[in-house]
């Protein structure tokens, strides 16, 4: 959940309890009402990063050490190809269109039969990763879905009232 301090020091149990009981819930609430995908707070060597999970409402807390890196490569966040074939974008869902999970963003034509490319979640249609008529394979990401999770850089939020954990 939380970081090890970047300075070689150990947090007290009290500080951890306070972080878990007070600070994290406050941060989660803030992230939840925002449009941010990720939120990071740094204070006195502590770093707390929150990131939305795939489920639109749930929020995941992720901490990483100063030198560490977010774990394994993530699964595609956008809409993926349901089959191997030719990509046909949906003209009615251009970039910027607000979409809900399950909305049809295009098709992949397999031997003349169209299979739907659907949005995996609520969000806004971002850039297209495959052109019209382009050959695509199964599972290939075709359309970026912005919104919720799509925040490439962690955004620092300086005004969060995060009390310093006691660091000895």
């Amino acid at each position: 959940m939380t970081d090890r301090p970047t300075t070689p020091a150990v947090a007290t149990t009290g500080a951890l309890t306070r972080l878990a009981d007070e600070i994290l819930p406050a941060l989660i609430a803030r992230l939840d009402v925002s449009d941010l995908g990720e939120l990071e707070v740094r204070h006195d060597g502590w770093r707390v990063r929150l990131r939305r999970s795939l489920e639109p409402r749930a929020v995941q807390a992720a901490g990483s050490a100063g030198t560490g890196h977010a774990a394994a490569p993530e699964a595609p966040r956008g809409a993926t190809s349901p089959a191997v074939g030719y990509h046909l974008p949906n003209e009615r869902t251009p970039v910027g269109t607000k979409v809900a999970s399950g909305d049809v963003l295009g098709w992949v034509e397999v031997l003349g039969v169209r299979q739907e490319v659907v949005s995996p979640r609520d969000g806004v249609v971002g850039r297209s990763l495959a052109e019209a008529g382009q050959a695509v394979e199964y599972g290939q990401e075709l359309v970026v879905i912005d919104g919720a999770r799509r925040a490439p850089e962690p955004v620092p939020v300086p005004d969060v009232a995060l009390s310093t954990p006691a660091v000895d």
């Binding site: 191997v84 031997l111 039969v113 394979e137 199964y138 599972g139």
Partner: protein, 455 residues
């Protein structure tokens, strides 16, 4: 000749077909499932394309996905390997309808040989002796009982649509027959979508001997000798060798000539294997034809020096056979050991997991066809074949010696394999005597077999 071939398979056979493409100067494209992204064939291909999820029904068995993959990658032919869509006449027909060549028998030929019972009838007309069996499919229980009585127990219940020994059951009495037939029907319906069954006389101590044939589009056919696949467990081959120790040279030649003559006369085309059961007196009975390249084809390649997959591709493209029968020279002895990810000591339970270390054996006459590499993860979704260790020697004892040495060199760490079984087999008296029969392992039990050769 083709310029680009889609390889619609996985594992060692995808790699084998890829190698044949390289030799022929054809560009190989590999179709793979999500579970096979890290396989050797995908790494070596000119292009690789994901056709579906791990579940083979939605990837390797999806005719539309495979054909679409061939079209979008600009291929002009599809090689189905073995298993999956390799003997599916509907798939072959679809392939052709999209302007692509199916590397295998044409759809009409696949259709003609699709039913085992129909094939036996057809080839019997062209001179092949068959095992006494039921006339046609079993209609109901009284019909089955009457037919079994006429043939004489024990009899084998076989699903018409089956393959690879799946869904078969041997019964010794009328009572057993009645019980088994219901189970066989539901199993066949579940596995093949077709519950047609037929009966065959059970030959107690038989050998499995098969003949490799190749027939081009111009009606030229050759045989490339026989293979003996008598080391089996529940009708699944584990070891294959050639020549067969069960028959002498006169019988060998007669069997092969009979097989190729019948195959050509019945209109077979492409590479194929005619399977026979050989009884204790050396008498052969035709059982079925496999309309594909087989797992054990390297045994024949070792004896003949031919590249059967390359030859298969050439004749599918319409070329004439590159050799005449008189040019086929079979020398020495070859043995293939199927290296499987399975626990011999525990009912051959299949294994999956990471191959932590893999080192292939070598030396004169040693060939290892395997898609493994250190760090490769064997997925749990497919068959357990990890590779085939094939050895050749000028004679059988030398081949066995080389097989022992090669097995000692082979390193597969990280998951349980059947290497201990092979080591035991190569020390067992029935195998050394060339006297292994198809039911020996099942009768003795694998655990007992391992224990009996341990000392």
């Amino acid at each position: 000749m083709f310029t680009r071939i889609l390889i619609a398979n996985r594992g060692e056979i995808a790699l084998r077909v890829l190698r044949a493409c390289r030799v022929l100067g054809i560009s190989p494209v590999v179709a793979y499932s999500e579970a096979d992204r890290d396989t050797r064939a995908v790494q070596l291909a000119d292009e690789a394309i994901c056709v579906g999820p791990a579940e083979s029904r939605r990837s390797y068995l999806s005719a539309a996905s495979i054909i679409s993959a061939a079209l979008v990658t600009g291929c002009d032919a599809i090689h189905p390997g073995y298993g999956f869509l390799s003997e599916d006449d509907t798939f072959a027909e679809m392939t052709r309808a999209h302007g692509l060549t199916f590397i295998g028998p044409p759809p009409e030929v696949l259709e003609r040989f699709a039913s085992k019972a129909g094939t036996r009838e057809l080839l019997a007309k062209h001179g092949l002796p068959t095992i006494p069996g039921s006339h046609g499919m079993l209609r109901d229980d009284p019909h089955a009982l009457a037919e079994a009585e006429r043939i004489g127990y024990p009899v084998l219940i076989k699903p018409s649509a089956g393959g690879g020994g799946r869904g078969m059951r041997m019964v010794r009495t009328a009572r057993e027959l009645q019980q088994a037939i219901t189970i066989c029907r539901s199993e066949a319906r579940a596995a093949f979508g077709d519950d047609s069954l037929y009966l065959e006389k059970w030959l107690e101590d038989n050998r499995h001997v098969e003949v490799q044939v190749i027939v081009d589009k111009h009606g030229n056919g050759i045989h490339v000798g026989e293979r003996d696949c008598s080391v089996q467990r529940r009708h699944q081959k584990i070891v294959e060798e050639a020549p067969s120790p069960a028959i002498d040279d006169t019988q060998r030649l007669a069997l092969a000539e009979m097989a190729i003559k019948a195959a050509v006369a019945a209109g077979y085309e492409n590479v194929g294997t005619l399977e026979f059961l050989v009884d204790g007196d050396g008498k052969a009975y035709f059982i079925e034809i496999n309309c594909r390249i087989q797992v054990e084809h390297p045994v024949t390649e070792m004896l003949s020096g031919m590249d059967l997959v390359a030859e298969q591709i050439r004749i599918a493209a319409g070329e004439r056979l590159s050799v005449r029968q008189a040019d086929v020279r079979l020398t020495g002895h070859a043995i293939e050991l199927r290296i499987n990810a399975e626990d011999t000591a525990h009912e051959f339970r299949p294994q999956a997991g990471v191959v932590e270390r893999y080192l292939a054996p070598g030396g004169p006459g040693v060939r290892m066809d395997s898609h493994l590499y250190s760090g490769y993860e064997v997925p749990p979704f497919y068959d357990s074949l990890l590779g085939k260790l094939v050895v050749w020697g000028p004679d059988r004892p030398t081949a066995i010696e080389r097989a022992r040495a090669a097995l000692d060199e082979l390193v597969v760490e990280g998951l349980v394999t059947n290497v201990p079984f092979h080591k035991a087999l190569l020390e067992s008296q029935p195998f050394l005597d060339g006297a292994f029969t198809t039911n020996l392992l099942d009768r003795v039990g694998a655990a007992a077999f391992l224990a009996s050769t341990a000392g």
